[in-house]
């Protein structure tokens, strides 16, 4: 349980992640999102690339890194869809920037805080995505508050578990 609890700000500043983790985790998230949805159609309620973006943004606390990571993951996710490249990239770039900016000011090592941030960022992500798809691309998009609320709750729950698992890969640098 102690591994899941948020660490002190002093400890966080000396933590870092191996480079391979920055590469494999997004790819694994995209792969799982694509593969699991094939056999479990309800799995597409999750947005693993978004959760990975939030995690790396609030952990690194660098808005530039968060923006770039969000853009790369978003564009890669766009590559799996039929929509133009950049829709998810724009959304996740903004989410990465905001998450990294908030990570500097608040304690994001707390699981409650992470859950609240994930819940809010997911709604923000859905709102931006609806705006881009519906207004910019003029494509049909069914917006349902209940549906989006359920998705946000599910993603929040999954994010808590996922973030705790990713915390295991932290490298403390003293």
């Amino acid at each position: 349980m102690s591994r899941l609890s948020a660490a002190a700000r002093r400890d966080i500043e000396v933590q870092s992640y191996p480079l391979i983790l920055f590469i494999l985790v997004p790819i694994l998230a995209l792969g799982l999102q694509s593969f699991v949805s094939l056999h479990f159609s309800r799995f597409d309620m999750l947005d693993l690339p978004l959760l990975v973006t939030i995690y790396f943004a609030i952990s690194r606390r660098n808005p530039v890194v968060g923006t770039v990571v969000g853009a790369v993951i978003g564009i890669a996710q766009d590559g799996l869809t039929r929509q133009p490249l950049g829709i998810f990239g724009i959304c996740k770039s903004i989410i990465g920037y905001l998450a990294a900016s908030l990570g500097v000011r608040i304690d994001t090592e707390n699981h409650g805080t992470r859950a609240l941030l994930t819940f809010g960022f997911f709604f923000l992500h859905s709102g931006m995505y609806w705006l881009l798809v519906r207004r910019l691309l003029a494509q049909p998009y069914a917006w349902g508050w209940i549906h989006e609320l359920v998705r946000a709750v599910v993603n929040t729950i999954v994010s808590v578990i996922l973030f705790a698992l990713l915390d295991l890969a932290k490298q403390k640098e003293y």
Binding site: I27, L28, L30, G31, Q33, S34, F35, S37, L38, H39, S41, F43, D44, M45, P63, V64, T67, V68, A71, I75, A76, Q77, D78, G79, L80, T81, R82, Q83, P84, L85, G86, I87, G89, I90, S93, I94, Y97, A100, S101, L132, V133, L136, L137, Q139, P140, Y141, A142
Partner: protein, 602 residues
Amino acid sequence: MESFLSRYKNALVLIVVLLAQVIGVAIQVRRPLPKEHAQPDAGGVRLIRYWAISLVSPPERLVHWLGTSILGVWDNYLDLVHVRQQNKDLESELRRLRIQEGGIAEDARQGQRLQQLLAFKEKYVYHTLPAQIIGTSGVEQSRILSIDKGAKDGVAVDMPVITQDGVVGRIREVFPHTSQVLEITDPTSGAGVILATTRIRGILRGNALGQPQVMSVMPDERIKAGEPVVTSGGDQIFPRGLAVGYVDRVIVDPERDPLVDVVIRPAANLSQLEEVLVITNMGAEVTPRQKLDMIQSEAVASTEQLRASEVLAERLPSRIDPDAPPDSEDNDASPDAQGEDIGRPMRPPAAVHADRFTPNATPAATTLTPGARLAPQSEGVLTVSKPRPATPSSSSSGVASGGTDSAEVTPKRKVPEMVPDDGSRPPAGTVTRPAIANSTGENANHAPASTPKPAASASTVSSGNGETGSSETRSSTTGVATPVTRQAVPKTNNAANAGVNPPPPKTIVVVDGPLPPSAKKPASSTSATTAVPRSSTTQPSSGTPAQHAPATLSQKPSSTAPVQHKGPELVPDDGSRPPPTMLQKPKPQPTAPAQQPQGGRL
């Protein structure tokens, strides 16, 4: 400046990244080029997408291979219970389906022949490529599938993707080893479909909830839930007749209020797809396997038909009467009746009693003489029951019994006969014509005309050529119907016949129509006579009641018989051709001025 960049570095990076992506999106969503020049994605975009696919596909393929291998080992080596029985059942099912397919293929071939007649090109599924689904887009709003076959396997853009249950979608992007399939449930997809029962056509697209629906259809009460929906072939992508799904419900189109959207329940289970078939080749001909099935089905069908006929003949013996005479009139055996000459002309049946109105009884126009007319000739014995007029009658060529109450007509033959326009008869025979009246009674041996006319007034007209009274005996002033016996000789010979049978001193000319000016002069006549208007009954001028006089129609078969022209002559009622005796001709004309209609003269 340096401090500005360092101070707003994060925001500037965000702005640059967002601006670059917005520009990239704007480039991608520009107006598409024509189909022959367009590509699903531009080169750069396709490269990025290819990178993303390349990053995601290997782990997906690896995971899929692991899963397939494990399941394969389990299914092929462990889970083999009841496999032998299933194999037998499947083989029998396969035989049954092949026979059924043969029957269907026969119908398809018939349809193909008809389509060839109409120059309609139908596309048949000629070759398919099985592929496995290795992934999806993972996004609710994007209905994309990834398959493990790409360009190196022969997959191309816009190839249809189906399953054994129905349509899945079409190829959207092709990479060397993978491809993207756009499902029919995607909002950007499109397929021409037709409702199988109501034959309503429409475009199938996915709605925002991921359900396929036929967009903007006119409201129709016939559209019911469960109605099958198949591809129409109008989109030039999907072959015609592939199952798409079934009608789920009808909803009002929110953007086009009078129109409705028909929500479809897909026939293929799009949420549990594992293997699909990519139609890589569509031809206008059936496959050799289908041709073989057609031949087999034809043989089976002909055998079954023959057997059914035999069984029907055995089970229904009462329908065949053994005592019935054979059908000698096999009208349907003619080629025309068999449908070889559908457009043959309709002909009336043969007449039981031919007359002059019978088709083909009229002689050809080339055989007719201008001015001549065709008159019927009757012969036989006519006995009229009415009392005979006062004058006795006798006939040299026929038998006429007057004064009896019974009428008996025994015509031997009634055929058209050519009568010269000058009133003479053709030399072929002699015609006994009825007369209207005879004052002297010398020619009263002939019965009155069968179509007598009332003897209102008559006048004897002397013609300039001396024909008056020389060859024809007209009715007498008494008005009693008197038959006239004429012989088919020219009038020029009537002068010699006049000595054999001298004409009476007074004759009545039945004028049928307006008289010529010369004939209207009563003073020129030898005696005052009364014109006889036309009527259906004979009205004797002697004051006897009007009655039908007995008539005797006879024909002298002997050509040497004396020519007799006695009694009045009936002329056409149109007045176009008065009798020759009424015309003041300096000399006889070789031809008549005009041909008279048939039946104008009796």
